[in-house]
């Protein structure tokens, strides 16, 4: 078989895949006769109403001198770790706004941070392609810095997100710019499994965000620059269980819905979407009806669900934060955030 012949077949196969994908999308469109908003409306649900006092800024934590890139809560919701461009991690007491620790990082370009479920250690990762774990109970050295208790090396690109596996203190999942996600054993510092990369069903571009299923910690979902989100099972590293298409831009953030059956995404195309984990259907699109539909759509940089899941908080690159009613896709805008979370 000659080279040109191979090439032709490759082209044909690619075309085939594309047509199949289109058909799949069409089929999905057919099957998905309504979205959540339509159904909820037909059921006569009304949107959540806010008065101005319902959402108030409880506390402003002051102390960082650079942009805050990421923050995470302990499971008890009483402490916060935040990572900032000034090269520090700060652990806050969320109730009193006091700083309990300030950790100076060896590499200032930190992109993500995460609390361990037991609340005793924090992980952070950034442009140094490493994920560093700090034990909050360890002794500080002479300069008052916490020593790094473990460094997870092995990524070939920046570490864009990290999250401890719930109920397993020693497991950590990271997403990286090298198109892979990795499950680590924190105690040994070894990789347990690598998701993506060599395998054909992995992401084809940088992984920007991961989120672990809150009800089944074996499942996690990752969002990537290839405009897809993928669902993985930590026990099956060889392939992604499902791939979710729909966004037209990089998926900047993914977050599981509190019930663990669906997840939300936020993307460069300025929309948030809600996907059903099992069927792969796209349940709802949350997008602003821009009067001027030019390129200036602000990018969704981060999302979060309320505990009930009824509200979706979305942060945009222009500094706005919107609250979406997940059922009716209606929004309340409120500003006030000066940073991109």
């Amino acid at each position: 078989m000659s080279f040109s012949e191979l090439k032709d077949r490759h082209v044909a196969a690619t075309a085939m895949v594309n047509t199949l994908r289109d058909r799949l999308n069409q089929k999905r469109q057919q099957l998905l006769d309504t979205d959540v908003a339509g159904y909820a409306k037909s059921q006569g649900r009304t949107a959540v109403n806010f008065s101005s006092t319902d959402l108030v800024c409880c506390r402003t934590l002051q102390g960082h001198t650079g942009k805050v890139y990421s923050l995470d809560w302990t499971p008890e919701k009483n402490r916060i770790v935040s990572a900032s461009q000034d090269g520090r991690l700060i652990i806050w007491n969320a109730l009193t706004s006091q700083k309990t620790h300030a950790i100076k990082l060896p590499c200032a370009w930190v992109m993500t941070c995460s609390f361990a479920p037991n609340g005793y250690s924090v992980a952070c990762g950034g442009l140094d392609s490493e994920c560093s774990i700090f034990n909050l109970n360890s002794q500080v050295d002479r300069d008052g810095n916490l020593p790094v208790s473990r460094v997870l090396t092995g990524h070939k690109g920046y570490v864009s997100s990290c999250e401890f596996v719930r109920d397993q203190d020693t497991r950590l999942i990271t997403g990286s710019g090298d198109q892979t996600c990795v499950l680590w054993d924190v105690t040994t510092g070894q990789r347990i499994s690598v998701f993506g990369g060599e395998f054909p069903s992995g992401h084809t571009s940088d992984v920007l965000s991961i989120s672990i299923n809150s009800s089944n910690s074996n499942m996690f979902v990752s969002g990537s620059c290839d405009a897809t989100a993928r669902l993985w099972d930590t026990r099956i590293a060889s392939r992604a269980i499902r791939t979710y298409h729909g966004h037209h831009g990089d998926v900047n953030t993914v977050k599981f819905f509190p019930d663990g059956q669906r997840f939300g995404t936020g993307s460069d195309d300025g929309t948030c979407r809600l996907f059903d984990m099992r069927t792969g259907h796209q349940l709802q699109v949350y997008s602003q009806q821009q009067a001027n539909n030019d390129q200036d759509v602000p990018i969704v940089t981060s999302i979060a669900f309320s505990i009930s899941g009824r509200l979706l908080f979305a942060g945009y690159s222009n500094g706005d934060c919107y609250v979406w009613d997940t059922l009716l896709a209606e929004i309340w805008a409120f500003g006030g955030h000066r940073k991109v979370i």
């Binding site: 002051q62 001198t65 650079g66 942009k67 890139y69 461009q85 000034d86 590499c107 370009w109 992109m111 442009l127 140094d128 392609s129 490493e130 090396t153 070939k156 690109g157 920046y158 864009s160 710019g177 090298d178 198109q179 571009s205 940088d206 920007l208 620059c225 990089d250």
Partner: protein, 888 residues
Amino acid sequence: MDRRRMVVLSAAESADYSFADEYKGPPLPYDIPHAVPIDVDRIPLAAVAPVSAALPDLPVVHPLPSPSSSPLKKPPPPHVTPAPPLPAASPTSVIENRAAMDRPGAEVSGALGSFGFPDRSTDLSEVVDSSGAIGFSDELGDGAAWSNEMMPNRLSTESALSSEFSFRSSASGDGDEDEAVALQAKKALLVTFQESGQSSCCMSPAVGVTPRARSEDLEMKIKKGACHRCLKGSRFTEKETCLVCDAKYCSGCVLRAMGSMPEGRKCISCIGFPILESNRERLGRSSRVLKKLLSSREVQLVMKAEKDCEANQLRPEDICVNGTKLSLEEMVLLQSCSCPPNLKPGLYWYDKVSGYWGKEGHKPDRIITPHLNVGGTLMRNASNGNTGILINGREITKVELQMLKWAGVHCAGNPHFWLNADGTYLEEGQKNVKGQIWEKPIMKLLCPVLSLPFPSKVANEVNNLFNRAVPDCFDTKALQKLLLVGHHESGTSTIFKQAKFLYSSVPFSEDEREDIKLMIQTSIYNYLAILLEGRERFEEESLDEQRDKQHLDSSGDVAFGKQNKVTEYSISPRLRAFSDWLLKIMASGNLEAIFPAATREYAPLVEELWKDSAIQATYSRRNELQSLPSYASYFLERVVDISRAEYEPSDMDILCADGINSSNGVAYTDFQFPCLACVGSSIDDDDQQEALLRYQLIRVHTMGLGENCKWLGMFEDVRIVIFCVAITDYDEYYEDANGMVRNKMMESRRIFEGIASHPTFEQMDFLLILSKIDLLDQKMDMAPLTLCDWFDDYNPVVSYHPHNKDRRGAQIGATKAQQAFHYTAVKFKRLFFSITGRKLYVAQANGLDGDSVDAALRYAKEIVKWEERLVCDILESMYGTEPSSYSH
């Protein structure tokens, strides 16, 4: 008694507020701190001194007066009372003693004999500040009057002095005094002074003058500028002063008096106390004495501590805005707004709507950022106006009225105005805007005439230019970040390493060297693998050729052909096994996994392999191996050395090595440009300042960080992006992840476009460094520039005069490379202009040549400086041109 003392103190406090900024010279308080280290043991000495009338005691005594005056530390009374054997009433006598000690030499007799009458007033004042246990304020008047008769001149200074003392103590002492009481007390105090100071120019205005008088006085006492600790030295010896008490110490005593300086330059006893307002400007400015005593690193640390430590910060409760003391948040807000006021302790009023800012009871001082949520509500009498016209609820002063008139505002009938920050004003209760105050260009001229503020529009407009610089001003004002990016193998790492060699004393630590050694050894295996791969190909080719030959030479016998199967590219079976193994490892991509064990094990094998004629033959054809980097031969020729375990990389090796560290992340280094001693005759202050600027070179590996440039947002605070392109890339190709062969120059161009058009870098300056310029010369002869699609319109002007060519052969060769350089530069400049509409700076460099890298980085520094100037020029022109165009 006690009450009275408090009253006096608070009076002084209010005096402090109203005159705060008049103090220029070293104020009285200097005295106070230097005394602070009270040595209890010394007090008896002092007591003895007057008895024995001994002159030599005086130097020992010196420290005493200050302890007494230190506001927070009460001198222990028990010691004091027993001290004087004099028959006078107890408190006075103590004081007398001290006063006597105050005056070295000169007036000992007075102190001894006559209870030191002339010094009475000083004593009194000291009593007032220090312990105050004894109710002396009654006597203050008396005493002053009394001594007035004796020594009128001296007294005036002293009384002024005493006011200083009390101000000092109050400042640090009780801040919560009732203000009304304070005011009353102030009056009372003033009266006292008047009495005492009749003869000369005392009184409240004199307060501003007194510090000088006082300091002279002080110097007189301490032998004209002697060190406060060893009491030696003259005014001309260099000294360091304590920020709190202004005590001066000579270089020998500084470290003993100030210890490790956890809060900067403060006597040990002053640690924890707030600094003097007059010393605020000195914060963080190092002195020659310190620099002599400590290493530069230590000085930096001390200065940082001095600037950052909490005790040295402006205390929010010292600042009152609209009658409300500020909280910390409010003060931070004030300081960090885009047009911050000049904050000093005092009472201010602030008009939130228009942004007017001034001292309480005075006309507006400046216009700061409006709508800050700071302080209480604006009072009607905030600026003490009496015109009956209100602006935003504040009765304005006459000067402002004048300004309003000039601005064409109708002020008949005492209207109440509502003035917005943008200058629009309306009458209270009405909706329609009546006009714009600031729009008349003449206002800009008139306001300074009336010494009224004019809104700094420029600050608002140029705001966005400053925005990116402001945040890092906060802590690391002097750190300028330079971002170095470039395509794979474009020379970024070499430039980075060269910068390390150039500017830092210890370029690479042991660990880093070890890391680099490993990296070089890994890469040498890499190169070998490429060679082996090439060898296999060449072997096949030559076998094919032979086969062809055999076909042609059909009659040739088989045996001959078989023999010939061994070509010059064939290797022995043992080496072949090694070669297969290495190639397999390479293919699986885990070359790193076998290190460093491989170095020990395979070193001899590598040596054998390298010496094998087949490899050498392949090596001689290395030009045909595209994937072999240009600098590989540098290492391959020394492969035998390198593959040994005991190999230590030389500086040159490090420069040539590929990459900086094994993790393909970011690398950064802080450096300063060393002073160029002989740059020119004129080294102005500007250059001096610059020497202090620190730069941080951040090198980012584009391959490792993905190509989506998601990370670029993290570098929004860099000052300049240095984009590196290897100029020799135009005919080089590489295989990307999808197996497509791409031209490296085109790839560089693609990344460059991506970065230049990234929204984060909208306002960023770019410097293009064309590296590997040294290799261009050789290459130009072999491969024309037009090999790259982008450069297909390159047709240089070549001189065709043959004799010219002969004569200046070398020169023409050089210009050829130069032409190519300029051509490439222009290509990039046009591209950059088409993307951003701005100018691209271009420099050339050769990574292996330190001077050229130095030149390129200095060029980057200059660009940063130019841009700063440019911004300044914009500011100036906005200020400068408008009035002038108006006046013509």
